[in-house]
């Protein structure tokens, strides 16, 4: 059985209550004596002094000793002090009954609440001086034996109930700890869910805006390109237009292209719609993503595809397509000059694995550490949002899969996406 923790506020309250109860008990005991000594004035005065001393002593023990000494020792001290005082009073008044009466009362509270063994010492400390005083005062032995038996019986009964309370408290403590842990876990999940929710809302807003911006930007960009080409072909440009031809339109086109690349990034980051989940073949999504990413390759760059037959997976094909596209675009952008991105699929036990390797510049450990953090980007300002890989990571985790990355500066990068095979009946 565990001992109570003395610093527990509930234990302190319990001890405080016991001690106050002891003080009140001392008073009642004093009143009893008062009834017997009545109307002897000296005896009345002595009893009142006794009551005051007992009450003050108990209060002092509570306030001082419980704080500075071990509660166990303080309690022994208190019980011993009380019984000694009663014995002194009994000798003084020649009347041993108050001691006998207070004995079972003190015995009830003698069991230690601070330790397992305290109770035995305390009951001994109550019984020994009281019995000694009674026998010395010439009281019959049967009285001693009877009162000792009654006191021990009450002590045993109270000990059992204190023990039961102690167990209940320990149980409730365990339950409280378990609840607290569960609460902490829930709170962590909630924070996570809110963060995800925020990212999703930002994504939907961004995707919606990006779509609206993209359409006008397509013809604005194209028209500026056409205007530049037309101005180039005119032999004599009027003076006010010369500056446009050489500088302003080139800057304008550059600005348009920057807007376009950010918009494209935002659109990749999140699609505005939620799609129903279904069984699908990852290779279809890889194929589509490869065709889209191929349009972004430059001369000497290629995307090579070797797709093994793989089982179907369950989830959102659109989202997985987005993951493939994000990783392929990343691969293509990592190519510095000529190079290739190689895409393969493989059936690995319970997973479908898609490997996307590039022969590009590779990444340092510092970059790898932050790779999947939202808004982390190594592209210059105005070139990337740093959301592509964060979103890819989020989607794959949502599908119960994982993304691994292997890379070293100058040695290219390989992303491996693993998605669990669906065991649903197609």
């Amino acid at each position: 059985l565990r001992a109570f923790d003395p610093s527990d506020p509930r234990v302190k309250r319990f001890q405080g209550a016991l001690t106050k109860f002891g003080a009140v008990g001392g008073m009642l005991n004093g009143l009893l004596v008062l009834a017997f000594v009545w109307p002897d004035r000296w005896m009345i005065a002595a009893t009142i002094v006794y009551c005051v001393i007992i009450a003050a002593f108990n209060t002092w023990v509570t306030v001082k000793l419980y704080r500075h000494v071990k509660p166990d020792s303080a309690e022994i001290f208190r019980a011993f002090g009380n019984v000694t005082m009663q014995v002194v009073l009994a000798q003084f008044t020649g009347w041993i009954l108050p001691v006998w009466l207070i004995l079972p009362f003190s015995a009830a509270f003698a069991d230690g609440i601070a330790s397992r063994f305290g109770g035995r010492w305390r009951i001994a400390i109550l019984l020994v001086p009281a019995n000694a005083a009674a026998l010395l005062a010439g009281q019959p032995l049967r009285w001693s034996l009877a009162m000792t038996f009654i006191s021990l019986f009450i002590w045993a009964m109270f000990s059992l109930s204190v023990r039961a309370i102690r167990e209940m408290l320990a149980d409730s403590e365990d339950q409280r700890a378990a609840l607290e842990k569960a609460h902490e876990e829930l709170k962590a999940w909630n924070t996570h869910a809110i963060a995800q929710e925020k990212l999703t809302s930002i994504g939907m807003l961004a995707a919606g805006m990006a779509h609206e911006i993209n359409n006008p930007m397509s013809f604005v960009t194209s028209n500026i390109e056409a205007l530049i080409a037309d101005l180039e072909s005119v032999p004599e440009v009027p003076a006010p237009l010369v500056e446009y031809r050489h500088e302003i339109l080139a800057d304008t086109l550059d600005g348009c292209q920057r807007v376009n690349s950010i918009v494209a990034d935002l659109r990749r980051f999140a699609s505005g719609e939620v799609q129903a989940e279904e069984l699908f073949d990852v290779r279809d999504e890889v194929d589509a993503a490869v065709r889209m990413a191929t349009s972004q390759t430059r001369d000497g760059q290629a995307i090579r595809v070797d797709l093994d037959a793989v089982p179907t997976v369950f989830g959102s094909p659109r989202q997985i397509g987005q993951v493939m596209l994000n990783l392929l675009m990343n691969g293509v952008q990592a190519l510095d000059g000529p190079g290739e991105v190689h895409v393969t699929t493989r059936h690995e036990g319970h997973n479908v694995a898609v490997m996307i390797s590039d022969t590009g510049v590779g990444m340092s450990q510092a970059t790898l550490d932050r790779l999947f953090q939202p808004f982390f980007t190594t592209k210059g300002s105005g070139k990337g949002t740093g959301l592509g890989l964060a979103v890819a990571h989020g989607i794959v985790k949502q599908h119960g899969g994982c993304i691994d990355v292997a890379s070293a500066p100058g040695a290219g990068t390989t992303f491996t996406i693993r998605l669990p095979i669906s065991h649903a009946i197609a």
Binding site: H211, P216, S218, T221, S222, R267, A288, Q322
Partner: protein
């Protein structure tokens, strides 16, 4: 002269592409809705169809699939903001996908195959 059918619900996009292809020696037809596009494709069998993806009524992937049924020889190009079409992978077999905003040279090169 090769014929190109351009489908987009945004008139400014249609005008821009029309001018681009017209200058490069294509005969250009424009449709501002999928329904109109199907009518023109069925009647004229253009060499190339360039379609936007997001349009009311029907998306570009579905439109190109229907055009493939009625005009199988037509080269099909989807101009798209990429991720829009990720869920349409299966209906996009045989379709060239180019990003929007487009690169003029890449777009023309994609169409050139029909000209040769």
């Amino acid at each position: 002269m090769p014929t190109v059918l351009i489908v987009d619900d945004e008139p400014a996009v249609l005008r821009t592409l029309k001018r681009l292809f017209h200058r490069r020696g294509f005969e250009v037809r424009c449709a501002s809705s999928p329904a109109q596009a199907l009518k023109i494709a069925g009647a004229e069998r253009p060499d190339v169809v360039i379609s936007d993806f997001k349009m009311p009524e029907m998306n570009g992937a579905r439109l190109l699939k229907e055009i493939a049924a009625c005009a199988p020889a037509t080269l099909r190009i989807l101009l798209s903001g990429q991720i829009d079409i990720a869920g349409e992978a299966i209906s996009l077999a045989g379709v060239q996908i180019l990003p929007k905003p487009w690169d003029e040279e890449k777009l023309l090169r994609a169409c050139q195959r029909s000209k040769d």
